[in-house]
C-alpha cells in the first residue's frame, strides 16, 4: 500500500540523475570528441591525437603552467591547512557560537569579490601602498612590492588563503565540537601536557577530516579560473587560464588543445576527489 504513494527509490531519483547525467555526460563527451580533433565546425572529422601531442610537447607552455598551478595549489593548501588547524584549536578552547558565525561570514564574499578586494588592498596604488606612503616607507607607488599580478602567484595564494582558512577551520571545529566528552579533558586528567594533548589527542582526531578537506581545497584551487585570471600575470599562466585562452582562440584548431588541458585538469581533480572521499569515509 505504501508503495502506492511513495514512489520507488529510483523513480524519485530519476529527474535529478537524468539532468546530471545528460548535461555532465554530454559536456564531457563533447569535450573528449573535441580534444581528439573532432571539430565539425571546420569540417575535420577524423580522430587524431595531434592536440594531445601539441599540448604535451616538452617545449609547450603546458608544463610551465602545470608547474605554476601546482605551486599555487600546494602552497595555498598547505598554508591554509596549517593556519586553519591552529585557528580551530585555538577557537575550540573557547566556547561560543560567535566565532563559527564569524567564520561563516566569508561566504558573503565569493572568490571573485574577495580577489577584487585584494586587488584594491594590495596593488601598487592600493590601500596598503597608500598607507605605506603616508607612513613614509615609500614615496612612489612603484616602490611598493608587487603582491598582486606577480610572477610568483603571491596574490593568488593570498586570495585563496582568505577563503580556505575559514572553510578548513569550520571543518576542523565541527570535528572538535562534535565530541560530547572532551578527550582533551580526559588526556589532561591522565597527565598529558598541553603540547602532548595537541600532538597525541587533538591532531590525530582531526587529521582525517583535515586531509579530506585539504584535498578538496587543492582540487578546487587547481581547477578554478577566476582568481588566477584576475590576480595572475600573462606568463606563467595558471593551467585553467591557459586552457581557456586556447579554447577562446580565434584559431579553431587551438580549441582542441584547450580541451586537452581542461580534460587533464578534470582527471587530476577527480583522482584527488576520490582520495578525499576515501579519507572522509575512513573518518566514519
Amino acid at each position: 500500500m505504501r508503495d502506492k504513494f511513495i514512489f520507488s527509490s529510483w523513480i524519485s531519483l530519476a529527474p535529478a540523475l537524468t539532468i546530471i547525467m545528460v548535461l555532465l555526460g554530454a559536456s564531457l563527451l563533447y569535450a573528449g570528441a573535441e580534444s581528439l580533433g573532432y571539430v565539425s565546425v571546420i569540417g575535420q572529422n577524423e580522430i587524431s591525437f595531434d592536440a594531445y601531442r601539441a599540448a604535451l610537447d616538452l617545449n609547450s607552455e603546458f608544463w610551465v603552467s602545470l608547474g605554476f598551478s601546482l605551486w599555487v595549489s600546494i602552497a595555498s593548501t598547505l598554508i591554509s591547512s596549517a593556519v586553519a588547524l591552529a585557528l580551530a584549536v585555538w577557537l575550540s578552547e573557547r566556547r561560543g557560537n560567535t566565532d563559527t558565525l564569524a567564520l561563516n561570514w566569508n561566504l558573503a564574499f565569493p572568490h571573485l569579490v574577495w580577489s577584487v578586494a585584494l586587488l584594491l588592498f594590495l596593488s601598487q596604488s592600493g590601500l596598503f601602498s597608500r598607507w605605506a606612503a603616508s607612513l613614509g616607507l615609500i614615496s612612489t607607488p612603484a616602490e611598493f612590492p608587487v603582491l598582486v599580478r606577480d610572477r610568483f602567484g603571491i596574490g593568488i595564494i593570498l586570495s585563496y588563503l582568505g577563503k580556505e582558512i575559514p572553510f578548513l577551520s569550520i571543518t576542523i571545529l565541527s570535528v572538535l565540537r562534535s565530541q560530547a566528552v572532551g578527550y582533551d579533558v580526559v588526556a589532561e586528567n591522565l597527565g598529558a601536557s598541553r603540547w602532548q594533548r595537541l600532538r597525541y589527542v587533538t591532531i590525530p582526531q582531526v587529521m582525517p577530516a583535515l586531509i579530506a578537506g585539504a584535498l578538496l581545497v587543492f582540487g578546487f584551487i587547481f581547477s578554478s579560473y577566476e582568481v588566477p585570471a584576475l590576480l595572475g600575470v600573462g606568463y606563467p599562466k595558471a593551467l585553467p587560464a591557459l586552457a581557456l585562452r586556447f579554447f577562446l582562440d580565434p584559431d579553431l584548431r587551438a580549441r582542441s588543445e584547450g580541451m586537452v588541458i581542461s580534460l587533464i585538469i578534470t582527471l587530476i581533480v577527480l583522482i584527488v576527489a576520490v582520495i578525499s572521499l576515501r579519507m572522509g569515509e575512513r573518518k566514519e
Partner: protein, 264 residues
C-alpha cells in the same frame, strides 16, 4: 594579559572578515582620493549613482536575479524527491546514486562549460537564458540535494504515518507535514542555490557567450582594467545579496555552512 591577547586576536579576525565591505565602501563613496592619502577625504554618492543607473548594470542585475531565481526553483524541484529517498531509504545502488550526485560538485566548471559550450551551440541553447540556467543547475543541484537529504535523514517518517492515519491524503501530508518539517533546510537550500547561481562567472561566460551579461561578468571585466571606484561600486552591488542572506541565515549556517563552500 592573556585575556587581552584573546580580545586582540578576535578583533583582528573579525576585522579581516568585514574589511572587504569597508574597503569597497571607501572606494565607492569617495572622490579624488589620490596616492598617497591614507584615507578618502571627499565623500560622494555620485559614482555609485552612476553605476547603479547605468543601463548595463541594471539589466545585468535583473538578468542575474531572474536566472538565479529560476535555478533555485528548478534545483529544489529536482532535489526534493531525490533527497527524500537518499535521506530516508536504504536501497540497492544508493552508493552509486550518491556518487553520481557528488561528481558534478567536483568536475571543474571549466570543463563543464567548455563541453556544454559546444553542445549548446549546436542545439541553439548557447547565449540563451535557458542554456545558462541549465548550466548553473550542475553546480547547484548536488548542493541542494546534500542539504535537503541531511534534513530528511533527521526527519522521522512517523509524523507522516500519524497524518496518514488521521486521514490526510498524500498531497496533504506532503504540504502540511513534510514540507513544514524541513522548511528551515529548504530555505537555506533555496537561498544558497540562488547565491551559487548569482555569483557564477565561468559558466555564464562560456554558455552566455556575451549575450547573457550578469553582474560577475561586468565586475570581472571592470576589475581587469576599470577604475577603482566603479569596481568597488559593482562589488558592493554584487555582494549585497550574499551579505543579506548571510545576515538572515547566520544561525542555521552552523549546520549547513560548509556544504556550500567552494562552489562559490
Amino acid at each position: 594579559m592573556k585575556q587581552g591577547f584573546t580580545y586582540l586576536f578576535r578583533f583582528l579576525l573579525y576585522l579581516i572578515l568585514i574589511a572587504p565591505l569597508l574597503l569597497f565602501a571607501a572606494y565607492a563613496f569617495s572622490t579624488r582620493w589620490f596616492f598617497p592619502q591614507p584615507f578618502p577625504i571627499e565623500w560622494t554618492v555620485g559614482t555609485f549613482q552612476r553605476v547603479v543607473h547605468d543601463s548595463q548594470t541594471l539589466s545585468s542585475m535583473v538578468q542575474g536575479v531572474g536566472i538565479a531565481f529560476l535555478v533555485s526553483v528548478l534545483s529544489l524541484l529536482l532535489a526534493l524527491p531525490a533527497a527524500r529517498v537518499l535521506g530516508l531509504r536504504k536501497f540497492r545502488g544508493r552508493q552509486l546514486a550518491w556518487l553520481l550526485i557528488f561528481i558534478p560538485s567536483i568536475v571543474p566548471p571549466l570543463a563543464v562549460g567548455m563541453g556544454l559550450n559546444i553542445l549548446f551551440l549546436r542545439i541553439g541553447l548557447a547565449g540563451t537564458i535557458t542554456g545558462v540556467v541549465l548550466a548553473h543547475i550542475i553546480p547547484t543541484l548536488p548542493y541542494t540535494i546534500f542539504t535537503l537529504s541531511s534534513a530528511f535523514a533527521r526527519f522521522d517518517e512517523n509524523y507522516e504515518f500519524q497524518a496518514l492515519a488521521l486521514g490526510a491524503s498524500p498531497l496533504q501530508i506532503f504540504l502540511k507535514v513534510t514540507l513544514r518539517m524541513i522548511t528551515p533546510s529548504l530555505v537555506v537550500a533555496a537561498l544558497f542555490a540562488f547565491l551559487i547561481s548569482w555569483s557564477q562567472y565561468l559558466l555564464t561566460l562560456l554558455i552566455g557567450g556575451g549575450q547573457i551579461i550578469t553582474l560577475p561578468i561586468l565586475l570581472f571585466s571592470a576589475a581587469s582594467g576599470g577604475n577603482p571606484a566603479t569596481i568597488a561600486a559593482l562589488s558592493l552591488l554584487f555582494v549585497a545579496p550574499p551579505v543579506l542572506v548571510l545576515a538572515f541565515t547566520a544561525r542555521s549556517l552552523n549546520q549547513h555552512g560548509n556544504e556550500i563552500r567552494e562552489q562559490y
